[in-house]
């Protein structure tokens, strides 16, 4: 048993935990402005900058805010869909819906984002359709709204599947029992189905929230503002090469996710994964 576990464990420790440790340690170093090379002197300047500069605070709030909004949107969209799949649809319809949910995941994430760029562009499909219907056109391209739409679309399957798994696991007998005890449909839903499905929703929200939090490509392609990842990316790239600052800023999403996971664990969401 021990020998079987050793390689994956070593892999995990070396590539994952060690990388995180290095990231965290280098956040305390600094950059020599003249040569552009990292100086190995311990200091807290990077963290001070991250927390005291309103720009970085604002970018962090925006990233977390949009991630939360995307999570909420996906939960609202995914729940009825997953409910229909798990409890209403016949097996054949269910298979068909499964394919529909999974199909987008077979194509490149980039291709789908570029497709949305074409849809939302000024002369794109959306404004063309609105024009044909006699409605005013929108200027939604390259805005936070565009990011919200695209993120919600891209991560939706990651919310549907855990909710589906949770709903499917609810035994029919629970619902029958609820009905036998006189509960109406809505009461059964509110007091039996929803609490049992909640861990699935939370499991899904871990995906949608963390995936949005860490993304930096969608903001570049369909948005016009920065996410935490964009700031990190710009600092990592050659010209500034400010790895210590990038590391310090990258600990923010790590901290947010750690807190989120601790909260999620309390609700028992990990049993639904």
């Amino acid at each position: 048993m021990g020998t079987l576990l050793a390689p994956p464990l070593a892999w995990f420790v070396l590539l994952y935990l060690a990388a995180l440790a290095v990231l965290f340690i280098s956040a305390f170093w600094s950059l020599d402005a003249f040569t552009g090379k990292v100086v190995h002197v311990w200091n807290l300047d990077n963290f001070r900058e991250v927390f005291s500069n309103p720009t970085y605070r604002h970018i962090a709030y925006r990233t977390i805010g949009i991630a939360a909004l995307v999570t909420l949107t996906d939960a609202l969209l995914a729940f009825p869909f997953a409910y229909f799949m798990a409890r209403v649809a016949k097996p054949r319809t269910r298979t068909f819906l499964f394919v529909l949910v999974l199909l987008p995941l077979w194509s490149s994430y980039l291709a789908r984002i570029y497709a949305w760029r074409l849809i939302l562009a000024h002369d794109g499909a959306l404004n063309w359709s609105l024009g044909k219907l006699g409605l005013p056109t929108t200027g939604v391209a390259y805005s936070n709204t565009a990011m919200w739409i695209v993120f919600s679309y891209v991560w939706l399957p990651f919310m549907i599947l855990p909710i589906y798994a949770a709903l499917e696991r609810i035994p029919d007998s629970y619902i029958e029992a609820s009905r036998d005890l006189g509960a109406k449909g809505w009461t059964t839903f509110r007091r039996v189905v929803l609490p049992l499905a909640l861990p699935g929703v939370i499991a899904g929200s871990i995906f949608t929230f963390s995936l949005t939090l860490g993304d930096y490509i969608t903001p570049i392609l369909v948005g016009n503002t920065q996410f935490i990842g964009n700031v990190v990316y710009r600092n990592v790239l050659g010209l500034s090469y400010n790895l210590p600052f990038a590391a310090a800023y990258a600990t923010i999403p790590l901290g947010v996710m750690a807190a989120y996971l601790v909260l999620a664990r309390r609700t028992g969401a990990f049993e639904a994964l």
């Binding site: 021990g2 070593a10 420790v13 070396l14 935990l17 060690a18 990388a19 440790a21 290095v22 340690i25 280098s26 950059l31 402005a33 003249f34 040569t35 552009g36 090379k37 990292v38 190995h40 500069n53 720009t55 970085y56 604002h58 970018i59 760029r117 074409l118 562009a121 000024h122 002369d123 794109g124 200027g139 391209a141 390259y142 570049i220 016009n224 503002t225 920065q226 700031v231 710009r234 600092n235 790239l237 050659g238 010209l239 500034s240 090469y241 400010n242």
Partner: protein, 390 residues
């Protein structure tokens, strides 16, 4: 038993962690040994070493001129394309054994300061004498009279506009700060863009005393940042790739923006009604340099390459392929032979005054031109840019 095993596992994990840290530390520590760049310059090109590894802009190492070079010198060329100046610096510092890099002016000084590139002897490049005067010892690749590379090609950053939507034709960079075009403006997503604002301010607010848009004091940088912050709500999109800007103009999201000649050529070929201009305030621009890595193991092949790409024929081929202006004045004739009118189209025959209108990209450093050291360096530019975009 169990206890012992657990302790072992803990210790092993610690050992692995320590090992990982050592690797990182060693990688960083190795960067200090770049003092070889001060070694004596070669006075002749020796026998080629059989191999040459390039970091280049896409389109800078085409088979058209790589194949003849390989046949002539026996140096086998390996190419690595980079998408940005940032990436180029990262690659040259990666220690992966690259010999040459086609660095733009906003990367070159950084490479010199970081001792990532070494001094070269231009006397070994016969065509060097045919270069336009301004590119023989430009400040972006020549420091204290020491040459750190051989100039290659250059081009201006232009004002691009849709001829049907923007009337009359703009003549000033002020159009990019004009609320009239709110939501229709696009500018590059690049900290070096601050220089464009500084250039505009140097003409419109002379009391700021901006002389060189890349050498800004705190006060001057603040003024440029204030102007760019006012511009921000007018900007539809900060473009990251040339193809982004092409899309924006094609789809009607933008009608005016800061651009390169390459986008104009592509859009005009697609029948989009656009034109570009160099406004009355002048323009910023890029000038690229082949620079030799301080750790290069193939310096002879590298010199042979620099000699090869400086010849009029290769200069002309590359200028036409990429849509930029060659450094070698003798390339003009070859360009017209290859594609009629291309010499004029890419300004290869333009007088020195055209070149002098252009303020070429260079890495901002703490040193101002006048010996003062109170200018804002690139890290500060980059933080300012993050702040502007918000």
């Amino acid at each position: 038993m169990n206890e012992a095993r657990r302790r072992f596992a803990g210790r092993a994990a610690l050992a692995v962690l320590t090992a990982a840290l050592c690797v990182v530390a060693a990688g960083c520590g190795g960067g200090g040994g770049g003092n070889k760049s001060e070694a004596k310059l070669p006075d002749s090109i020796g026998q080629g070493e059989g191999s040459l590894s390039l970091v280049a802009w896409e389109g800078y190492a085409q088979d058209q001129w790589v194949k003849p070079y390989e046949q002539e010198t026996g140096c086998k060329v390996k190419r690595k394309y980079a998408g940005s100046s940032d990436e180029m610096v990262t690659l040259m510092r990666s220690g992966a054994g690259y010999d040459l890099v086609s660095a733009s002016g906003d990367a070159s000084l950084r490479l010199i300061r970081g001792k990532d590139v070494r001094a070269v002897n231009p006397d070994l490049i016969p065509d060097y004498d045919n270069f336009i005067e301004a590119l023989k010892s430009p400040p972006h690749n020549t420091v204290d009279g020491v040459h750190y590379g051989i100039s290659l090609q250059w081009g201006p950053n232009t004002l691009l506009y849709n001829t049907e939507q923007v009337k009359p034709a703009p003549t000033s960079w002020g159009a990019l700060y004009d609320p009239k075009y709110s939501g229709k403006i696009t500018v590059p997503d690049n900290p070096i863009q601050i220089a464009d604002a500084a250039l505009y301010l140097s003409k419109t607010q002379p009391d700021l005393g901006i002389d060189d848009p890349y050498e800004l004091t705190q006060e001057q940088l603040d003024a440029a940042v204030a102007l760019l912050k006012k511009q921000k709500p007018l900007v539809k999109k900060y473009w990251a790739l040339a193809s982004d800007e092409i899309d924006l103009f094609k789809n009607g999201d933008a009608t005016i923006g800061a651009s390169w000649p390459y986008q104009t050529n592509t859009l005009q070929a697609d029948k989009v009604p656009v034109k570009d201009t160099i406004p009355k305030e002048g323009a910023t621009g890029w000038a690229d340099t082949w620079m030799l890595s301080s750790k290069s193991k193939h310096p002879n092949c590298a010199y042979l390459w620099m000699r090869h790409v400086s010849t009029p024929k290769v200069q002309a081929q590359q200028a036409i392929y990429f849509g930029e202006t060659p450094a070698n004045t003798k390339a003009c004739k070859v360009m017209d032979q290859l594609s009629k009118g291309s010499c004029k189209q890419y300004h290869a025959d333009a007088p020195e005054s055209y070149f002098n209108q252009i303020k070429f990209w260079k890495t901002p450093t703490a040193e101002c031109g006048d010996g003062e050291t109170n200018c804002m360096d690139y890290t500060q530019w980059q933080q300012a840019w993050t702040e502007i975009k918000g």
